[in-house]
């Protein structure tokens, strides 16, 4: 560790540190504006110039690496004199009086000026004209205050990989602007707002932060599975500020637009503030006593009349581990059924099944941060930069900082393709064929990892029997991907030292979802990319706590910790712990539950924090099921499309109003902390489940959420070492079997959890419904950057609504021509199950022959159209492929 002297004070610097970083770390203030620890040194503001003995002139501290024994003079007259002139120049470059400006309470220019003793500038104020751009719903760009430190520009390029803004023109005319100087909202800006936090002065300011927070609360973002740490600034009973939680890294923690700006739902006036009971067909406010008594009574009656299996419960991937644990315990112990499931059924059921069969665990094998050090990343069926923006940053960094090779397989030209060596634009649903062909190339070229196959895996021979028939040429005919590209991508992947596979719903939501996952597992094993750092298989989980909800056993065929109800030892141990005899037979999946409603087998439903009325395929049918079921209790924070069908609605608490834990996509268990009280009569969900359980004769006594975690740790071995105390300083990745275990960044080290990794033959099967003469186009559904899931949360933030106009369907220009559709036309989309009107966005993003419709919007409910055909083993529906026809809406039917 180099030791240097700054103004006579000895300072221990980190190796590779700059003089400025070392000084700031040691608490020595050196004026600066353009320096930000996250970014490459820039040397633009020149306020940090210092004298260094033995060096000529005045080097900038921010660009000078430390050397052992360096003697630095910072706070000396000669240095301060020129710094003062530099600061005066900056101050004079504003029309308004800079020193009296209050737009940034932590203005770094004012701090530097104060340090240098400047109270006025002797220079004439500049005459620079500058724009004030208020077009973005979340922040203001007031370029009259810009000091051109370019932190925003560099952050947007270096870290976000977006490059929405840059310096244009030169010299005195240089200014930060979007391309062609359009308003920022018309640029490629993703509105992440990170530039706003990076601005040292008042040039970039949030619109929604009127008052400084009185208290800061560290917690976890409630949107996708990235699990970004948040710091909520709370004042009164409101969230007044949101920042990323950098822990003690000293760096800015990256968030996306939803996490940074999309939390308005917490204080939405539409929140449920009191229980509701249906009277004469209308939901009316009621007391908790009434509502709970009615709910418990209804459930008890059905249980006692039709048996416990006439009841089913949907737990929630948005709720905490503790809540999910209690929910399934309630269903299993208080009700006595395994009919408990949640929306993982709709997203990664095929992952849990497929990776479980191949590796012995359905979870992401490696950690997100490891992606940055991968040599090759294969992203298939994941629009990562929109659906998992912060994971995408790691992928972009791997490419731009380390030169990793990126391969994208996606029918759409997603944003990440900008960084890719290969974009394999395969037809929706042809994934297995594509993957088999890639493996065909690897084996025929002799690029497989023979040792790994021999020592760690089994059953490759039977997989090869299928793969050997899938030449790239054969695959080209099925997938539409040129054989040469398949070869190129295969060789690139196989030759890479550490190659990672990243996938999401584009892989899982098919009738062949499990096969898709198995084929990816085959590919990872074939190239020896499991059980090592920065390689592996990354299923990106879509919800903040979908991993946790699975871990907690909110699944019909698994007890907590992925243990089989049919296993007597397992069942006995849970029976001992819970004091009830437990059902042995697996329950119904969420998708099967609705069928069972029509058959009269399910009579009562308890839904916590899910919205199947918008999220399930073929929702018309789902709605009929919700109408038909005898007794429906919905527990939520909003009156969702699902809650609207309920007999009883129980108002729960949002993520900001309760303690607990979420487990993110990389198996990291993280603390969720209560920042606010729930509004009105709304209650924390733990309280509600316990109250209901007690009324059904099964009291569950826990003083707080921490006590639930104690029970979880005792019963789930992979959570054995997890406690709130240990989670204080950041999360822990399971398996974490005991209190001294540091957690597990990557799985299958030295051997697979199931022993040997198992190859499965994956013959290609077609999707359940392909385009034909009647319905000539293929419809695929998915997410947009600015919205989340059914919009229950994200659509409560006005700005997000502004940024993504609801109801656009992407149509390829070639198809638009064939079907007489122009950009912006109102169009009618019809499938065999329903019809939706939307506006056409004619764009090359969509592959020829397909249209794409996001499923966030109730105005254009994509799931009216989707097919409810199921994957036979995982029971996941085929959201990603169905046949539709599209025509201008004005044309009479």
């Amino acid at each position: 560790m180099p030791r240097i002297t700054i103004d006579g004070r000895p300072v221990a610097a980190d190796t590779g540190s700059t003089v400025l970083a070392a000084a700031l770390k040691a608490g020595v203030y050196v004026p600066h504006l353009c320096f930000l620890p996250d970014l490459d040194p820039y040397g633009g503001c020149r306020l940090c110039v210092v004298e260094i003995e033995g060096m000529r002139g005045l080097p900038a501290a921010c660009t000078t690496p430390v050397r052992d024994g360096m003697v630095v003079h910072s706070d000396v007259p000669a240095v301060n004199h020129v710094r003062r002139v530099t600061a005066e120049l900056i101050i004079a470059d504003h029309q308004a009086s800079c020193l009296e400006c209050t737009s940034n309470q932590r203005c770094e220019l004012q701090r530097a000026a104060a340090h240098l003793g400047i109270d006025q500038s002797r220079l004439r104020p500049g005459t620079r004209r500058a724009v004030k751009d208020t077009s973005n719903p979340f922040f203001i760009r007031d370029m009259s205050k810009c000091v051109l430190c370019t932190r925003c520009v560099r952050l947007c390029h270096e870290i976000r990989g977006v490059g929405a803004i840059d310096v244009i023109s030169r010299g005195y005319d240089a200014r930060v602007a979007p391309f062609w100087e359009t308003p920022i909202v018309e640029s490629t800006c993703e509105s992440c707002g990170m530039c706003v936090d990076a601005c040292p002065v008042g040039a970039l300011r949030p619109k929604n932060e009127q008052l400084p927070p009185a208290e800061l609360v560290r917690t976890v973002c409630p949107y996708c599975g990235c699990g970004c740490g948040l710091v909520l600034g709370v004042r009164g009973k409101k969230i007044v500020q949101v920042r990323g939680d950098g822990f003690d890294t000293g760096k800015q923690a990256q968030l996306c637009v939803k996490g940074r700006f999309g939390l308005d739902f917490v204080s939405s006036p539409e929140r449920l503030t009191s229980p509701l009971i249906r009277h004469n067909g209308k939901l009316e406010p009621a007391s908790w006593d009434e509502a709970l008594a009615l709910a418990a009574g209804g459930f008890s009656r059905i249980r006692d009349t039709f048996g416990p299996d006439a009841l089913a419960g949907f737990a929630s991937a948005k709720c905490t581990n503790e809540e999910n644990y209690l929910f399934q315990k309630f269903m299993r112990a208080a009700v006595g059924t395994n009919n408990v499931d949640h929306c993982a059924r709709l997203c990664h059921a095929s992952t849990v099944a497929g990776l479980g069969m191949a590796f012995g665990s359905g979870a992401m094998t490696n950690s997100v941060a490891e992606l940055e050090n991968a040599d090759c990343i294969f992203v298939i069926g994941s629009n990562t930069s929109e659906a998992h923006p912060v994971v995408a940053l790691r992928i972009k960094a791997a490419v731009s900082k380390r030169g990793a090779d990126l391969i994208i397989a996606d029918p759409r030209r997603i944003d990440l393709t900008r960084f890719a060596r290969f974009h394999l634009r395969h037809r929706c649903g042809a994934d297995v064929m594509l993957l088999n062909a890639i493996m065909h190339v690897i084996v025929t070229e002799g690029l497989e990892d023979r040792d790994f196959l021999d020592e760690r895996t089994e059953n490759f021979g039977s997989a090869w029997e299928v793969i050997r028939h899938c030449s790239p040429e054969a695959a080209e005919a099925v997938t539409g991907v040129p054989a040469g590209d398949i070869r190129g991508a295969a060789v690139l992947f196989a030759r890479a030292g550490r190659a990672a596979i990243v996938y999401s719903m584009g892989v899982t939501q098919h009738v062949t979802g499990t096969d898709n996952v198995l084929a990816l597992a085959n590919l990872a094993m074939l190239t020896g990319n499991v059980g090592i750092e920065s390689a592996g298989v990354y299923p990106l989980r879509g919800q903040n706590n979908v991993q946790g909800a699975c871990d907690m056993g909110a699944l019909p065929d698994w007890f907590p910790g992925y243990r089989k109800p049919a296993d007597n030892l397992v069942r006995k141990s849970f029976e001992r712990a819970w004091g009830r005899s437990l059902p042995e037979k697996p329950g119904l999946t969420a998708t099967e539950t609705l069928d069972a409603v029509f058959k009269g087998r399910i009579r009562g439903l308890y839904i916590m924090g899910e919205n199947p009325a918008l999220s399930d395929p073929n929702v018309s049918r789902t709605e009929r099921a919700l109408e038909k079921v005898d007794f429906l209790v919905v527990q939520d924070i909003f009156l969702t499309e699902t809650a609207a069908h309920a007999d009883i609605v129980l108002p729960g608490a949002s993520f900001a109003e309760k303690d607990g834990t979420f487990t993110n996509t990389e198996r990291r268990v993280q603390r969720v902390r209560k920042a606010l009280p729930a509004p009105g009569e709304a209650k924390e969900d733990l309280w509600i489940i316990r109250a209901l359980s007690e009324r059904m004769g099964y009291p569950m006594i826990y003083p707080d959420a921490a006590a639930v975690m104690v029970e979880i740790a005792a019963l789930i071995p992979i959570y054995g070492g997890i406690s709130y105390e240990r989670l204080e300083n950041g999360g822990l990745q399971w398996p974490c079997p005991d209190g001294s275990h540091p957690g597990t960044p990557f799985l299958h080290r030295g051997g697979f959890i199931r022993g040997r990794g198992r190859f499965h033959p994956t013959p290609y099967r077609e999707p359940a419904e392909l385009p034909d003469a009647e319905y000539p186009l293929l419809l695929s559904t998915g997410r947009l950057l600015h919205h989340f899931h059914t919009g229950t949360l994200s659509r409560k933030t006005g700005g997000l609504e502004t940024l993504s106009r609801p109801g656009l369907v992407e149509v390829n220009p070639d198809d638009a021509e064939v079907f007489g559709i122009r950009d912006g036309d109102r169009v009618l989309i019809e499938s065999r199950r329903g019809r939706v009107e939307a506006w056409a966005a004619v764009t090359g993003r969509a592959r020829q022959g397909m249209v794409f419709l996001p499923f966030h919007f109730r105005e254009t409910p994509a799931n009216v159209l989707t097919n409810d055909a199921l994957d036979p083993s995982a029971k996941i529906p085929e959201f990603k492929v169905c046949a539709v026809r599209v025509k201008p809406a004005s044309v009479p039917l």
Partner: protein, 549 residues
């Protein structure tokens, strides 16, 4: 008339702009018409550096008869009288201004007599579009010697021993630069020829590239061999379309001859050269900005370290040399370090090319041994100050240089001495000023250039040049305040000491040097509202108005 005659028609930009291509075509047609079989008509670089304003120049070799201002209508006479009958056409010959004497041979012209042409050695002597002519005057001999007889280390040692220093302006020893490049271990290295000549009034690089492109190509290949690079770039400003064309032709011919490509001359060394055209930013002449520009990024300098020698183009070790440096290299290798080191002064070896302009009788490119005194250049070669005026100052080194007052006539022109006097050798610009020149206006003028060319990255340069320019403009318009001189000095010092790159660090030189040598002129503008040189018009008018009343 049996000896073959070669007629070289200058085909550099200035002569072309005055119609030398028509003269060339007319000569060819006329020679054919008169059926002269022993006459070759060739294009060439300039023979008349300095005399370019007199129009298309033509040289008849081997006699060395020099014509100026030749027009197509003169051609029949020139061919008939001179080429056929051996009688030069007197009215087109060079006439010395001072004496009125006609001087038929360029070697006899005073302007050339005291010059030593090393960098410009082939200018006007060969057709730059014919590689064979370059080879005939010894071209690519140095390449063969370096590749076949010398190791890279020996090449570097030879260049080190020669004392050759970077001709881009900074004067860093070329051999040491190559040694750094050689010593860095990397799978890939680059050499770059910096041909982004941007100083107004400097056109020596253009001249070399237009008149002798192979010399630069040869130098770049040798540089690549020395440091171990297999790829070179010529970064050439797009404002030099003819240079771009000539270099492209040279590269193509060198490739055909096997001087570029795989296994050059059977040495096992592979080398290729790519050309990248600049897009008009002055700052892209700065190494790191130039690299950014080749990488298709915004042309802005970045802090060093890391130095380009460690991490340059595409993150790989990169050595960058100026056009004139590279054009000197074949001479150094071919004729040896000792020969080269015998030219010039103690610390500055070889020759320097100066662009002599301003209030001077003979303006143009002048190549002299390093260390030649200012007075030799101005009076002997430049022919002195016209109109009987007095020398006041010499501004050297382009817009970032300083003004040296007339009281230092014996100043040897080399790196160290000029920098001691507050100026720089820089690109070799040399503007002569007489007593009608206002020194405040000079500072304002040069600063207006650097201000416009600041890239805007660092605060002192972006805002400091703007503030200084405003103050200087105020002063020249008679609206200066007494505190302006101190403020100007403060800003100039800050810009010089704190700027990120060479542009900012040197752009205050015209201000600082005039403040130091001609402070009285500033004070006269501010206190007496008077321009002593009578050049600042608002002040002159005011003064004359006062006289009238």
């Amino acid at each position: 008339m049996n000896q073959p005659i070669t007629v070289f028609v200058c085909a550099e930009t200035p002569c072309l702009s005055m119609g030398s291509d028509d003269v060339f075509e007319a000569l060819k047609a006329e020679v054919a018409r008169q059926k002269l079989t022993n006459v070759n008509i060739e294009i060439s670089g300039c023979h008349g550096h300095g005399l370019c304003n007199h129009g298309p120049s033509v040289v008849v070799e081997p006699e060395g008869v020099f014509y100026l201002g030749v027009r197509p209508e003169d051609v029949p006479e020139l061919v008939g009288s001179h080429l056929r009958d051996g009688r030069p056409v007197e009215r087109l010959l060079y006439q010395e201004k001072a004496t009125g004497k006609i001087i038929p041979h360029y070697r006899e012209i005073n302007f050339y007599k005291k010059q030593q042409r090393l960098i410009l050695r082939n200018c006007g002597r060969i057709n730059p579009e014919k590689i064979d002519q370059y080879i005939n005057v010894g071209g690519y001999r140095a390449l063969a010697k370096a590749l076949l007889e010398m190791t890279p280390i020996q090449v570097i040692e030879e260049v080190k021993r020669s004392g050759l220093r970077g001709r881009g302006g900074a004067g860093f020893p070329t051999g040491r630069k190559w040694e750094f490049g050689y010593n860095v271990l990397s799978d890939k290295k680059y050499v770059i020829c910096n041909a982004d000549e941007g100083d107004p009034g400097a056109f020596m690089d253009r001249s070399v590239l237009e008149a002798d492109p192979h010399a630069v190509v040869e130098g770049l290949i040798i540089a690549g061999y020395a440091i171990g690079a297999n790829d070179g770039y010529v970064y050439l400003r797009a404002e030099y379309p003819l240079a771009v064309k000539r270099v492209s032709i040279a590269l193509e011919q060198a490739r055909e001859k096997g001087f570029l490509g795989m296994d050059i001359l059977g040495s096992g060394f592979n080398f290729n050269i790519h050309m990248k055209e600049g897009a008009g930013a002055f700052v892209c002449g700065e190494e790191t900005a130039l690299i950014a520009s080749i990488e298709s990024l915004r042309g802005m300098p970045r802090p060093r370290p890391p130095y380009p020698a460690q991490s340059g183009l595409f993150g790989k070790p990169t050595t960058i040399n100026n056009v004139k440096t590279l054009a000197s290299v074949p001479a150094v290798i071919d004729r040896g370090a000792d020969w080269f080191a015998g030219i010039g002064s103690e610390k500055s070896k070889g020759t320097t090319v100066l662009a002599l302009s301003g209030k001077i009788v003979n303006s143009g490119l002048v190549e002299v041994p390093m260390g030649t005194s200012l007075s030799t250049i101005i009076f002997d070669i430049g022919g002195g100050i016209p109109d009987g005026r007095r020398l006041k100052a010499v501004q050297t080194g382009g817009p970032s240089g300083g003004c040296i007052p007339a009281r230092f006539p014996d100043t040897p022109v080399d790196y160290e001495t000029l920098s001691l006097l507050g100026s720089i050798l820089g690109s070799g610009g040399m503007v002569v000023m007489d007593d009608t020149t206002c020194m405040v206006e000079v500072a304002r003028y040069f600063l207006s250039f650097t201000q416009a060319e600041s890239c805007g990255k660092c605060v002192p340069c972006r805002l400091g040049t703007k503030q200084m320019l405003e103050i200087l403009t105020r002063i020249t318009r008679g609206r200066g305040k007494e505190s302006d001189i101190d403020t100007l000095y403060d800003i100039a010092r800050t810009v010089k000491e704190c700027s990120l790159c060479g542009l900012g660090q040197t752009c205050p030189n015209p201000v600082l040097s005039t403040l130091s040598y001609f402070r009285d002129e500033y004070e006269a503008h501010i206190k007496k509202k008077n321009c002593p040189a009578n050049q600042c018009r608002p002040l002159s008018r005011k003064a004359s108005a006062t006289v009238k009343s």
